[in-house]
Amino acid sequence: MFVRRLLYLLREAVANVLTNRTTTVVAVATTAFTFACVGVFLLLYVNLRAMASSLEQDIEVMVYLQDDLTEQMRREIEQQLKADRAVGSLTFVSKERALADFQTQFPSESHLLQGLGQNPLPASFVITFAVESRSSEAMQRWATRAQSISGVTQVQYNQEWVEALAGMVRYIEVAAIIVGVILSAASVTIIANTIRLALYSRREEIEILGLIGASTTFIRVPYLLEGAALGLLGSALSLVILKAGFELFRHEIRSASRFLGVDALLTFFPLDMCLVLVCVGLFLGCAGSFLSLLRFGEGRV
C-alpha cells in the first residue's frame, strides 16, 4: 500500500518540523537570508544584462565612404553590406543629408562649415546589427572586415561604451557565480545541521525502524522531505524579501527625479526564473539532508 506509507512518511516529516520548531524557523530564516544575498547579485546581473542588450540594440555603426565614389560603386558597397548576415538595417546618408543633419543638430556651429566653402562631411551608411550579432566582439570583427572594403574610409561606432558594459556584465556574472556557490554551500550546511539535529533527536526511533525491517529508503524519506521543505521555504521566503527590497528601491529611484525614467527599466525576476530559484532551493535542501543522512548512518541508516 504505497499511499498509506507515503502518508505515514509525510506525517513523520511534518512531525519532525513541528518538534524542532525553533531550529526549523532559524534554518528557514538563515537559508532565506543567504539565498537573498545571492538573489541581490542575480538581480543586478539580470538588470544590467537587460540594460546592456537594450543599449546594444541602439548602437549604430557608421561606415564612411570616399568622396569620389561613383553611383555604381556605392551600389556595390551597399549590396555587399546588405548581404552580410550581421547587418540588421542599413540607411544611406548622403553628403547633403549629413550637412543638413549637422546644421539642425548644431545650429550655432554651422558657420564653421560654411567657412570651408564646400561640404566637408562624407557620405555614409548607418547600420544597426541583427540581434544575434550584437555582442561587442562580433561588432569589432565586423568593423575590421567592413574597413577593408574598397571605397570605405572609416568604420566608427561607440566602441568604449559597448565594451565597458559588456565587461561589467561579465564581472557581475562571475561575482554572482562565486557568491552563489559560496552561499549555496552555506545554506546546504545550515540545512544539513538542522537535519542532523532532527536525526539525533529521533535516533532511537530510527534504530527501531531499522530493527523491524524498514528499508533504508523508508527511513530516509522523511528527512529528505524535511530538507526539501526547508530549502523550498527558504528560497520562497528569500524571493519575498527580494521583491519587497526591489519595490522599495524602485520607489526611492522614482522619487529621486535625477533618475527619471530609469525605474521603468528595472525588472524583477520573471516568473519562470522564480520557479527555477525555488527548485534550486529545494534541491539544495535535499542535498543538505542527504549529507547528514550519510554522515549519521555511515551507510547503516
Binding site: R5, A15, G213, G299
Partner: protein, 238 residues
C-alpha cells in the same frame, strides 16, 4: 529475495533454523564472541545465559545483521548472512521478531500505531494491518489498550506491547534480550508464559538473560556464554 517461511528442502535434510560455525566478533580488539559454534532447530526455545558482558546481546545482534562477525559463518534457514546484500537485511528482519534490551516503544504513538509499524514499513494493506495488530494484541492480552499511548501503561504492559510488535508479522523466530530485566518475579513469569505460548505455535525463541528467575521457569535448552565463549549447552529438565 523471498525469505522462505518453510524449509526449502524436505525434512531429513532441512537446514536448522540457526547455525553458527566458529563465529568470532571483536569490538576494536576486545573479544565479544570467540569461536562460537552452535545449532538451533526450528521450534526450539533456547535460553542464552551468562554474566553481564558474556556476549549474549552481541550474539543476538549478529543474528539480525545488526553487527557482522569478523570470523565464521552464520546461517539462517541455511542461508549465509555474510552473503546478504545490505538491501536484503530489512527482508531478514521482517522475518525475525526482536525484543531488545533498549528496544522501546515510540512514546508519541498509540499502542496500535506502535504494533502496526512492522507491517506498515513493508506496505501491508489497511485491512491486513487491522487484522494482524488485533491478533497480536489479543495474544499478549492487551487488545483493549490499543488507543493508549505507552506512557499510560505499566512496565509489564509496555513489554507485552513490545512482544506484540515482535510477533505481529508472524516471524520465523523471536529474539528477546533481557525481556524481564526491569520486571518483578510475578510479571517475569507472565512474560515467560507468553513466550511459551508463542513457542507452542511453532515460533523459534531465543531469550538472552542473566535472570535466574527465568531459568527456574523454563525447562528448555540452555546455552551458557562466558567471556564470549560457549561454556555449556545443556537440556534442563524439571
Amino acid at each position: 529475495m523471498v525469505w522462505p517461511l518453510t524449509p526449502v528442502r524436505p525434512l531429513p535434510l532441512s537446514p536448522s533454523m540457526i547455525q553458527l560455525f566458529h563465529v568470532s566478533k571483536y569490538y576494536d580488539r576486545r573479544v565479544a564472541l570467540s569461536d562460537v559454534t552452535l545449532e538451533i532447530e526450528k521450534g526450539e526455545f533456547v535460553l542464552l545465559m551468562g554474566p553481564s558482558g558474556a556476549g549474549k546481546s552481541t550474539l543476538l545482534k549478529l543474528l539480525i545483521g545488526a553487527e557482522r562477525p569478523e570470523e565464521g559463518q552464520i546461517l539462517i534457514q541455511g542461508r549465509s548472512l555474510s552473503k546478504l546484500r545490505s538491501s536484503e537485511i530489512p527482508l531478514l528482519r521482517r522475518k525475525v521478531g526482536v525484543v531488545l534490551q533498549d528496544f522501546r516503544l515510540l512514546p508519541k504513538k498509540t499502542v496500535f500505531d506502535n504494533v502496526s509499524l512492522p507491517l506498515l514499513v513493508q506496505g501491508a494493506s489497511t485491512a491486513e494491518i487491522r487484522r494482524k495488530v488485533a491478533e497480536a494484541l489479543r495474544a499478549v492480552g492487551l487488545d483493549h489498550k490499543k488507543d493508549h499511548v505507552p506512557s499510560g501503561l505499566s512496565t509489564g504492559e509496555q513489554q507485552r506491547i513490545c512482544i506484540a510488535r515482535a510477533i505481529v508479522n508472524g516471524p520465523i523466530m523471536l529474539l528477546a534480550d533481557e525481556p524481564t530485566g526491569n520486571l518483578d518475579p510475578e510479571l517475569t513469569s507472565e512474560i515467560i508464559d507468553l513466550f511459551k505460548s508463542i513457542n507452542a505455535r511453532g515460533t523459534t525463541i531465543i531469550v538472552a538473560t542473566h535472570d535466574p528467575n527465568v531459568l527456574a521457569q523454563v525447562s528448555r535448552r540452555v546455552i551458557t556464554l562466558d567471556q564470549g565463549r560457549v561454556v555449556s549447552q545443556e537440556q534442563v529438565c524439571s
